[in-house]
Point group: C2
Amino acid sequence: MSMDRLIEGILKTQNPTVAGLDPKLSYIPEHIKAECFQKYGKTLDGAAAALLAFNRGLIDALCDIVPAVKPQCAYYEMYGWQGMKALHDTIAYAREKGMFVITDGKRNDIGSTMEAYATAHLGKVDVEGELQIPFDGDCLTVNGYLGSDGIVPLLNICKEQDKGIFVLVKTSNPSSGELQNLKLEGGDTVYLTMGKKCEQWGESTMGKYGYSGVGAVVGATYPQQLGELRSALKTTFFLVPGYGAQGGGADDVLPAFDEKGLGAVINSSRGIMCAYQKRGLPGEDFAKAAREEAIRMRDEIVGKLGKIG
Amino acid sequence: MSMDRLIEGILKTQNPTVAGLDPKLSYIPEHIKAECFQKYGKTLDGAAAALLAFNRGLIDALCDIVPAVKPQCAYYEMYGWQGMKALHDTIAYAREKGMFVITDGKRNDIGSTMEAYATAHLGKVDVEGELQIPFDGDCLTVNGYLGSDGIVPLLNICKEQDKGIFVLVKTSNPSSGELQNLKLEGGDTVYLTMGKKCEQWGESTMGKYGYSGVGAVVGATYPQQLGELRSALKTTFFLVPGYGAQGGGADDVLPAFDEKGLGAVINSSRGIMCAYQKRGLPGEDFAKAAREEAIRMRDEIVGKLGKIG
């Protein structure tokens, strides 16, 4: 199952982190933009070319020390179908470099429509007998508000094609509690109810490290709930956003891990992508600065966590 | 606000329905596919060309009698960025023909990422000072599981650019109740809680017909909840899927409307797209059959509803 490949990447690099690839134009160094806009104009094609060039530089700088990347679909869709082509090319390049790709799309729908999303992001599509590959991530983030009809269509593709999903459980944003923290009549919160569903959905996709192909998104900004969910959900791997820019620190993410230092992968997006800006370095140093920040983050977390595995 | 334009389309056509454009290859007539595959091969480009040709035929057949179309993103993403280009071209063609476009993406995220989705599907993106248009729908369906941080970033774009959103409240699928029907400690269900949030979110985007720019998705398959929500949510316009193929009939959708016959738009996807297949007609008749089914559906609903407005 797919989480096994992610876990093996974490064990090999001794690094339980994932680099978010959310390439806003304002994050991209001037020299990259200048070249792309000169070639394609200030168009969607030009923007998409800049996104891809930036991502390739980041992937080159990170691929031997960070096991995974997480491109956020919104920042590609924002540049139209040209941006979606940059998403495709980014995923292909990251996988070519041996990285595990978590496509952050938070997709959700039902039945055959959800199957279409599964095919789009994790599978192969049948074009009159020829199998074609639309986007080809390893994992997709999904939203479970629609219930099992929105999740079950994904499980077959996870099994057949060794892919996985992360379901939103307790998100990192300030207002996540408006719905997710509400208490149901039985006493459980909405987020715990969703978490328990992940355990059920995952049963048929159990991997060799004790984690299923159905993971959960749980924010670093709520360390108490991270710990509560880690105890309650023994077979659900966590994708943890909210470290760094959103305010979560190394101490906050520790409750996400099990006693072997497994069970979670911590995301940093802006922290890594914009490291050169934060340090006031020239744009030409973006890749070097990203690598240094990724190492700093790894060392900070692993320093508290100890050897993984 | 955006629902005003949808409502004006409904008043003008005296037709409170929307045609879903969910173009699976198996729905597309052979003669269209043959031409596209001959030109582009059995590739994603070939599939995307077939999607667009089919949609253009449907739009031509429907644009004077049906006020809106609802392309489902999943069926375009399934054919990669080439499919997303077909989505872009479909939206542009429908708007050129005067139709209101509801992009069914069920997108969700927080803060600046949600703004990116809003820009992608409803707005214009700034490429180094040049404004470019990514997808340009009139409305976007969204999932509110993340709370206000996922919805508020959309409201400005709705106000500034006269666009709207539909938030998932009570979906049409069999398992929608797993989470949505659960009762909270205060006694409200999860779906009613989400519905009440739509009323709040909509307050700043009220239109001249008494409906805000924040609508709700409520399935035709749950007529009792439709009525309950119509009574509780006075300013929230409903997008109602589940008519036809999913089992909802004209009687089931009546509770969605207010006393003027406004307040809801009823979707049919397969019923219209696949009308020629259902009647055993040759593929060449797909547009004519779609038009006849759209008229039948309109007459069935309006026959019970009476004059609208």
